[in-house]
């Protein structure tokens, strides 16, 4: 096992280097320009733009910029944002709590809800609950979040005025009131994202369970006279969860990546929102860093998922 992990980690290094190179090359070659924000504004004339470009280091050839960026990354320095002149690390640190508070909670919610819903759906197959859950899951899976988001805003934010639709990142939870406010302002984005997560996981769990329920070992367990509850929870669920664990583990990096659309709609200043505005602003250091961190997380959680697989399924042994 130890050798396996070491080997995987060693492979990860060149993988990440290649990924970082591809990210940087795409950004450098794409027609995005941090100065496009000035539009055709004549008060920022040609020479000024050139000077600003030079001060941002953009006059150097991109392979050189890439090497500089990579080496400072190794030192833990993510560089400085073109737009705000503050360190990219600080920007990410400011955004991460919001992303975790919304996207992270929605993910946890999705997992906690999705597994029991999928399980009950499978056991009570073709019951009313199953039909309802499958329908909702189908909708949650297929209706895009920008649609559900806008729908919720119009119904609960504007018509009923129950929840604010402008997320305030400066809210500090220190008493009950502020906690209630925090819940009120996150409930709509969490619902939108949570619905999607529940749908994905419930569908997965349901089909896995259905696959396992008719198998011989389940019949044996029942034949031993085990209680149905134990049969389902200890045998069927445990085995069905193996692929689900992989799915959940691989989903964790997407939490970090934020929810680009949902964050934008509800004005949640998370990582996804940072990424998308940085792309449109041509803020290359921010985009490169966020995407790269995302890549690191994907590689890491991929490894983690593989290891978990071995833990959950004794038949699998890595050497």
């Amino acid at each position: 096992m130890g050798r396996y992990i070491a080997r995987r980690l060693l492979i990860a290094v060149p993988t990440l280097i290649v990924i970082s190179f591809v990210i940087y090359a795409i950004l450098a070659l794409a027609p995005i320009d941090p100065l496009s924000q000035f539009g055709a504004d004549p008060r920022v004339p040609a020479e000024v733009r050139e000077r600003i470009r030079e001060s941002l280091g953009l006059n150097q050839p991109w392979p050189i910029r890439y090497v500089k960026w990579m080496t400072s990354m190794f030192r833990g320095d993510f560089g400085v944002s073109f737009m705000s002149h503050s360190s990219v690390g600080d920007l990410i640190a400011q955004r991460l709590p919001n992303t975790l508070a919304v996207v992270g909670v929605a993910y946890v919610f999705g997992v906690l809800m999705g597994i029991p819903v999928g399980m009950i759906s499978a056991i009570k197959r073709y019951s009313i609950f199953d039909h309802a859950a499958t329908t909702v899951a189908f909708m949650g899976f297929s209706v895009p979040t920008f649609f559900t988001g806008l729908l919720l805003i119009i119904i609960f934010g504007i018509k009923l005025r129950w929840f604010p639709f402008i997320y305030s990142s400066t809210t500090q939870v220190h008493d009950l009131d502020s906690f209630v406010f925090q819940i009120r302002q996150s409930i709509m984005p969490i619902t939108v994202l949570g619905l999607f997560n529940v749908a994905t996981i419930a569908r997965y769990v349901r089909s896995e369970m259905l696959e396992h329920l008719p198998l011989d070992y389940v019949r044996t367990a029942r034949g031993k006279g085990l209680m149905e509850r134990l049969v389902v929870l200890r045998h069927v669920l445990r085995n069905s969860l193996i692929p689900v664990v992989t799915l959940v583990a691989l989903g964790v990096p997407t939490v970090f990546g934020g929810a680009i659309v949902t964050e934008q709609i509800f004005r949640v200043p998370g990582i996804g929102e940072l990424l998308v505005t940085s792309i449109s602003n041509g803020d290359i250091p921010v985009v490169a860093t966020v995407v790269f961190i995302f890549a690191v997380l994907v590689v890491t959680f991929n490894l983690l998922a593989d290891l978990l697989y071995a833990v959950l399924d004794p038949r699998i042994r890595y050497t």
């Binding site: 027609p31 320009d33 496009s36 000024v48 505005t277 449109s280």
Partner: protein, 581 residues
């Protein structure tokens, strides 16, 4: 300043280019609207769908940054809505030749500063800070986005602690170039002592500048939100009215409009670029908010390419010395102008005065400089028959495909603009009319961030198309604006596609008028020249103006909010000290 319709670009507001106007009114003192009591107003909520990323206007990359900075950092004086200097900043009065503030030969301006002004950290403000601002922003290595106003400024010196002298060389008839409007906010010398030159690039002060304005920064999260507190050291003891201000950024214009018109969640929503058909009923039925509509010089226009954008030219593609295959024929240009239905665009897409009104002038403000002549120009009237006749007479005959041609050259137009629903609808209206008179029109739309850049072959600068459309605007003194159609500013490979004359229009007669404008100090004569310049561009169909757009931006404000007096020439926040409820 070309204001893109779309996201990102709104960047620019009017103002401030190289040459402005000796417009000096003995301005009313800082208090335009008396505010009852300092800090009585609780929280003021402002919503921008573009979030500020930096609070030092000298490093701004867009209006959002200029505006967010203006609550804290003030210039010597502001531009009011008539394009006149207004002494609501750090200057005690507006210098004029009459009061001795301006040298008769226009080589120097002596600014008398307010006495007893303190920075928000309690230290006194002096003329040294004005000099410090000059040193900071005019150092090329600082790479300030405001450096353009330093052009021709020989020095800024402190005569005494309350007097700053700006010296120009050569003489500058537009002597307010440095000091007025959002391009010259005064920063604290001490705070920026370690941020000069190359060190300006990552200066912590940019995120929390100390200012003299009515508010000071409490918390700033770049790209998200700014929280301001009242500045206890503000010079006017009765102002500002609000205890705190929250400027939240992000999201989209449509829900921002809802927040001000339907729920009243915010007091001010910036730049509501929403389809007129949606915005109009929302604003009309609102009990909580109203739409601010003020006009200046923001004009949505069509540019006609005088160079040859044909890809087969290779290296010569779009260079100023190439000739367009058919737009060099004035009759073709005239026909295109006559087939342009600006009235429909104004009523269907801009709500007839809601967010813009039809215009056939490229310079629409200041009022005294707007041409009245264009009303009578035949090319300013939408007339498909006249357009057809013009082309028939010039020998452009319709083929079996309904496309006109002459000598094998077809009238095929590639028409580009930014991705934006209003612009795409405008394109559709143009296309249907132009095709009726025998043009073949292909439409193209490019994301604003790619369009407004000199590096992209799809951009407005390269203009590798036949017609393109965007918004731009001038300054209180339009000389710099008109310079954008002179021969030597033609964009091309030689200047790395950074020239402002995207049309690659070159007309020595026009250049002569602009040269005269640059040395004209008399406002009436300047207005005459400006009208002349405008009329040349319109009659020669270099540009086809479409819509005079609300300036700076169509903003929504709470009906309860008082004291807002938008100037199309300065930041919307220029008089925020006077806002109250």
């Amino acid at each position: 300043m070309r204001r893109g319709f779309a996201l990102a670009v709104t960047a620019t507001m009017a103002l401030a280019a190289c040459t402005q106007q000796p417009a000096a009114s003995p301005a009313p003192s800082a208090s335009a609207t008396p505010v009852a009591q300092r800090g009585a107003g609780g929280e003021l909520k402002i919503l921008y769908w573009q979030a500020p990323t930096i609070l030092n206007a000298h490093q701004a990359t867009g209006t959002k940054d200029n505006d967010a900075s203006r609550l804290v950092l003030e210039p010597l004086a502001s531009w009011d809505k008539n394009g006149q200097a207004l002494a609501n900043g750090l200057a005690a009065e507006i210098p004029t030749v009459a009061n001795g503030g301006v040298a008769k030969d226009f080589t120097s301006v002596t600014w008398k500063l307010r006495t007893g002004v303190k920075w928000s950290d309690g230290t006194p403000f002096t003329a040294d800070d004005v000099v410090g601002t000059y040193t900071y922003m005019c150092d090329e290595k600082t790479a300030a986005s405001t450096v353009d106003v330093c052009e021709g400024v020989k020095s800024v010196t402190a005569k005494d602690p309350n007097t700053a002298v700006v010296t120009y060389s050569p003489a500058q008839p537009f002597y307010f170039q440095w000091g007025v409007g959002f391009n010259t906010p005064i920063i604290q010398k001490a705070q920026y002592a370690n941020c000069l030159g190359v060190k300006a690039k990552d200066c912590p002060a940019d995120l929390k500048p100390i200012g003299t304005g009515p508010y000071k920064v409490n918390t700033f999260k770049p790209g998200d939100v700014v929280q301001y507190d009242l500045n206890e050291n503000f010079r006017d003891p009765n102002k500002p009215f609000f205890k705190t201000v929250t400027l939240k950024g992000g999201g989209d214009a449509a829900s921002a409009a809802r927040a001000v018109f339907q729920t009243g969640d915010v007091d001010y929503a910036w730049n509501l670029q929403v389809e007129a058909s949606v915005l109009k009923p929302m604003a009309a039925s609102s009990t909580t908010g109203r739409l601010l509509t003020s006009y200046a010089s923001s004009v949505e226009r069509l540019l006609i390419n005088f160079s040859n954008p044909d890809a087969s030219l290779g290296d010569k593609r779009g260079e100023p010395d190439t000739k367009h295959p058919f737009f060099t024929d004035i009759h073709v240009r005239r026909a295109l102008a006559m087939a342009t239905d600006r009235a429909s665009v104004a009523s269907q897409l801009y709500g007839d005065g809601l967010t813009g009104k039809a215009t056939c002038n490229i310079l629409t403000a200041p009022t005294a400089m707007e041409s009245k002549n264009s009303d009578s120009f035949d090319i300013c009237k939408f007339d498909l028959n006249a357009a057809n006749k013009e082309l028939d007479d010039a020998g452009w005959a319709k083929g079996s495909d309904n496309v006109r041609a002459k000598g094998g050259q077809k009238l095929k137009i590639l028409y580009q603009t930014t991705v934006n629903s209003v612009r795409q609808s405008t394109q559709a209206i143009m296309k249907s009319n132009w095709e009726k008179v025998g043009f073949q029109v292909e439409l193209k739309s490019v994301p604003a961030s790619t369009f407004f850049t000199n590096t992209s072959p799809d951009g407005a600068n390269h203009f590798w198309a036949d017609v393109e459309m965007f918004t731009n605007s001038g300054d209180p003194n339009p000389t710099g604006y008109f310079r954008g159609w002179t021969c030597k500013t033609a964009t091309g490979k030689a200047n790395n596609w950074n020239g402002s004359n995207y049309n690659r229009y070159c007309n020595p007669d026009f250049d002569k008028v602009v040269d005269q404008m640059a040395v004209e100090a008399d406002q009436a004569k300047l207005a005459q020249l400006a009208i002349q310049a405008n009329d040349i561009l319109i009659k020669d169909v270099v540009i086809i103006p479409l819509i005079n757009r609300v300036a700076p931006t169509p903003d929504g404000v709470s009906k309860a909010l008082k004291g807002i007096d938008v100037s199309g020439w300065d930041s919307v926040m220029y008089n925020i000290a006077d806002w109250s409820k």
